[in-house]
């Protein structure tokens, strides 16, 4: 009989930051999402972030499940709206470290506008975008990130839309930190996430990840491992590469690395300095409608 190892002092180190009662995950065999979570778990531990003051926000999709597996304050939001939720969280409680962990379909297609404006505002959040190049959970429809010529359920003859170069988009909008890795680059990804967790401003990390079930099998990959091997073979590390040169084209090298690392004042800093004496922390003015009289139906549950 194969047995489950009883938890001892010798347990998987990532379990410290995972909700172990939620595992096994719902993810397919060979899905790269869990691999990215390993890098994130080690980065959380290495960054020294106060886990009691760190929150993770996800949108909808397979990647959106990450927030449920990591033992932080977690928010699983509506489709595409992870960034607005995260923005509210950060503004209402500026001492939180806020991480958005979601997919390419959610962040760049459904919620694409939020992505642009959070980068423009330099909102102090870290966005991890797991790019599996497809709308996975909803059935494998083509997304804005589906590479040209790739087959999906909605592009049975191959996609004829050019794919979005996400690093270029967020760079142009003003992100402070932009990097791209793949699920194969576990160590580099961990380092990048650690670095980004310690930085201020809008930080963006794209992680290419295999989706054997809905992308891979329609595009010539036998399983998740085949996609991982392709990342290993095709990835070229080019730190500091101009983001207009890093678009992903089928059959071409995948450029990975840290592309942007700059500093500029974030939204809260600018707001505080602009408002001067008019600025009050939320805690000072109190939250809610202020009507706490008993038995009265208020506008909210304060």
């Amino acid at each position: 009989m194969s047995t489950l190892i009883e938890p001892t002092a010798l347990t998987n180190p990532v379990e410290k930051v995972l909700r172990n009662d939620r595992i096994p995950t719902i993810w397919c065999p060979g899905c790269g999402l869990g691999t990215t979570v390993n890098s994130f778990a080690y980065a959380l531990m290495a960054s020294g972030a106060d886990l009691k003051k760190t929150a993770i926000v996800s949108g909808i999709g397979c990647s959106g499940r990450v927030s449920g597996y990591v033992a932080l304050d977690s928010f699983h939001t509506t489709h595409g709206r992870a960034i607005p939720f995260a923005t509210g969280l950060k503004l209402a409680n500026p001492e939180l470290t806020v991480v958005v962990y979601s997919g390419d379909g959610d962040l760049t297609s459904i919620g694409g506008n939020h992505l642009i404006h959070a980068a423009r505002r330099n909102m102090d959040i870290l966005v991890v975008c797991v790019n599996n190049m497809i709308y996975a959970m909803t059935g494998g429809q083509a997304a804005a990130t589906t590479p040209g010529a790739a087959t999906s359920t909605t592009t049975p003859y191959g996609s004829f839309e050019p794919e979005l170069n996400i690093p270029q988009l967020v760079d142009a909008a003003g992100a402070c930190y932009v990097a791209r890795w793949t699920a194969f680059h576990v160590k580099q990804l961990e380092k990048s996430m650690t670095e980004a967790l310690k930085k201020k401003g809008f930080r963006f990390i794209e992680v290419l990840s295999p989706c054997p079930t809905l992308y891979g099998r329609r595009n010539g990959y036998a399983d998740g491992l085949a996609q991982m091997k392709e990342y290993k073979e095709m990835a070229k590390v080019k730190n500091g590469a101009p983001t207009y040169e890093v678009a992903i084209t089928h059959g071409q090298p995948i450029i990975v690395g840290k592309f942007v690392d700059r500093d500029r004042p974030d939204y809260l800093t600018l707001m505080r300095s602009q408002l001067g004496a008019h600025y009050h922390e939320v805690a000072e003015v109190g939250v809610g409608c202020g009507d706490e009289s008993e038995g009265k139906e208020g506008c909210c549950s304060c």
Binding site: M1, T3, V14, T25, G30, T35, N38, D223
Partner: protein, 95 residues
Amino acid sequence: MARGSVVVTTERCKGCGFCVEFCPTHVLALSSAFNKKGYHPPHMVEPDKCSGCNLCGMYCPDFAIFGFKSAETKPVAPAAGPAAAEAAAVEAKEA
């Protein structure tokens, strides 16, 4: 004496093969045994070559395996080591 070893939680494994493929010293192979869900979990075929680098753990999308260095864990690891026990269990099942 191997510098490290691994612990496999076989029931979490989905048999993706990432750990086998990306172990730098080719310590692992997918066993022919099944876990309850019908996947083939990995076992050590070259245990002496394990450095305990934990790359297998970094790659495993299902948190089903991790590596540890021998010296660090000596005080807490049982004599035979849970990895050995686990491998033995898998072996026994195979036989």
